[in-house]
Amino acid sequence: MSPTLALHDVHVLYGAIQAVKGISLEVRERELVALIGANGAGKTTTLRTISGLFRPRTGTIVYDDRDLTKLDAHDIVGLGVAQSPEGRQIFGSLSVRENLMLGATRRGRNADLGADLERVFALFPVLKERLGQAGGTLSGGEQQMLAMGRAMMAKPRLLLLDEPSLGLAPLMVGRIFEVIARLKAEGVTILLVEQNARKALEVADRAYVMETGHIALSGDARTLAANPDVEKAYLGGAAAAGQPAKGAARA
């Protein structure tokens, strides 16, 4: 069976900088694939290119036999690829309900979204209590839940999660990863970008390690976690000392 998503030799320029220098990766149906690596390795650029925010200079991104590099961002969402972006990017002045509804934009005017809302509330009960509140008034952890819930409202066949644990308190990080594991158990196909490599490798089936725009290593998540190089570079300091202070936490 062909993979749900396959990147082949993708190069992306960001301004004058080449952020992604020829990467290839695959995500199969019902798989949870992690993309880990240091800050600035090109992980976020990769996800944004899949979503159509950037056009690759060369290379193909095939999803369901269609080349995403030719499509606009909104059409890619329409095909069932939803993203919860880095830094959450919720609409702070819009209500929680409006944020969630916007996630379902491509499902049309008449879609029955009741069941989807209930599913999001089952994953994130706190959102139900906050429905009428402006998104900007939520705590950092709640905003992350909203961002993921909003992506779920698209009823995605492929969910892209960009740094879902970034800047969150340890307790909240644990809860977010519980939800990711639960989504995987429900059969959602996920590509997860994380700096918290230890946590990511715990939940993932397979993983790719990115370094300065390249895929440096790839393989089974458990094998990678045991790899001494990976352990030294990504699991040693990072997990113990917490995250680098990128995108400061909002309590």
Partner: protein, 296 residues
């Protein structure tokens, strides 16, 4: 007291026209960070459309309808031809391009319509004075201006806060990248913003024509400049702010002229812009704006 009441009506009417123009500026600015100077030329072309259909003997409501359709088309075309190729360009490039569009359209109008002012065929009903009691009276034009602005603002509020497209518009204005990740087609949102803003400018064109009594190719500059000040007063990009700013400006102008000594009242525009500068300095985000602009 009668003078005060009369000036109050006048100010309300002037502020209403500014509001109709300012909303279009604010909508487009909110989404594209573009100060669209050519918005005044949309208004000007609307006025010429109104004169054309008015002279052809159409009834007044039909004239307004045709004007609104024409200005909406003009606004969308401007976006498509001049602004869309510049998506993502620096703010200053956008600003200068809109100045270029403004000058090009003005001169095209001079070429086609001539530079001479033309009378605006204000329907007789708008020139009537309607007594309000207590010695006050209101002209038909002022009454229509105030009422239509009120109705349109209510409709606009419903659109922005209660409809799917309204929510998409607010989302795009707040964070265009996230909006695209939601599957929102930002181009459609931008076209809708231009269409609505320009349609409102079309209404303003008719009302302005009825107020001033004549139209000419350069007529767009003053209202758009005032509307622009209104959006600054209210906070760049905030629609309610633009409306509030428009009324503040309308009242400020009318009462400055009414109560300043004669020799100073001719400095009205100087006062307006001094106030603008002071506002920019002490509260650059405007009365209702929330985002803190860059400031050194």
């Amino acid at each position: 007291m009668t003078t005060f009441g009369q000036q109050f009506i006048n100010a309300l009417s002037l502020g209403s026209i500014y509001a109709l123009v300012a909303v279009g500026l604010a909508m487009v600015f909110g989404i594209l960070r573009l100060i669209n100077f050519a918005h005044g030329e949309v208004l000007m072309l609307g006025a010429f459309t109104a004169v054309f259909f008015g002279a052809s003997g159409w009834s007044f409501p039909l004239v307004v309808l045709m004007t609104v359709i024409a200005t909406a088309i003009v606004g969308v075309l401007m976006e498509r031809i001049a602004y869309r190729p510049l998506r993502g360009a620096p703010d200053v490039t956008l600003l200068l391009t809109s100045l270029g569009v403004s000058i090009a359209v003005q001169n095209a109008a001079i070429l086609f319509f001539g530079a001479q002012p033309r009378p605006f065929p204000t329907p007789a009903v708008l020139s009537q004075q309607i007594p309000l009691g207590g010695g006050l009276q209101i002209s038909g034009a002022n009454l229509v201006t105030i009422l239509s602005a009120l109705i349109l603002m209510v409709l606009l509020t419903i659109f922005v806060t209660r409809t799917r497209m309204g929510a998409q518009m607010r989302a795009t204005a707040e964070n265009a990248m996230a909006a695209r990740l939601m599957g929102i087609d930002v181009n459609v949102v931008i076209i809708v913003a231009f269409a609505i803003g320009s349609a409102l400018a079309g209404v303003a064109a008719v009302l302005w024509g009825a107020r001033v009594g004549r139209i000419e190719p350069l007529m767009g500059f003053v209202p758009v400049l005032k509307a622009f000040v209104a959006t600054v007063i209210g906070g760049f990009g905030s629609i309610p702010g633009a409306v509030l700013g428009a009324y503040v400006l309308g009242f400020g102008e009318i009462f400055l002229v009414a109560f300043l000594p004669q020799e100073l009242s001719s400095y009205r525009d100087a006062f307006v812009f001094t106030a603008l500068i002071v506002i920019l300095l002490i509260r650059p985000q405007g009365i209702l704006g929330s985002t803190e602009p860059e400031k050194i």
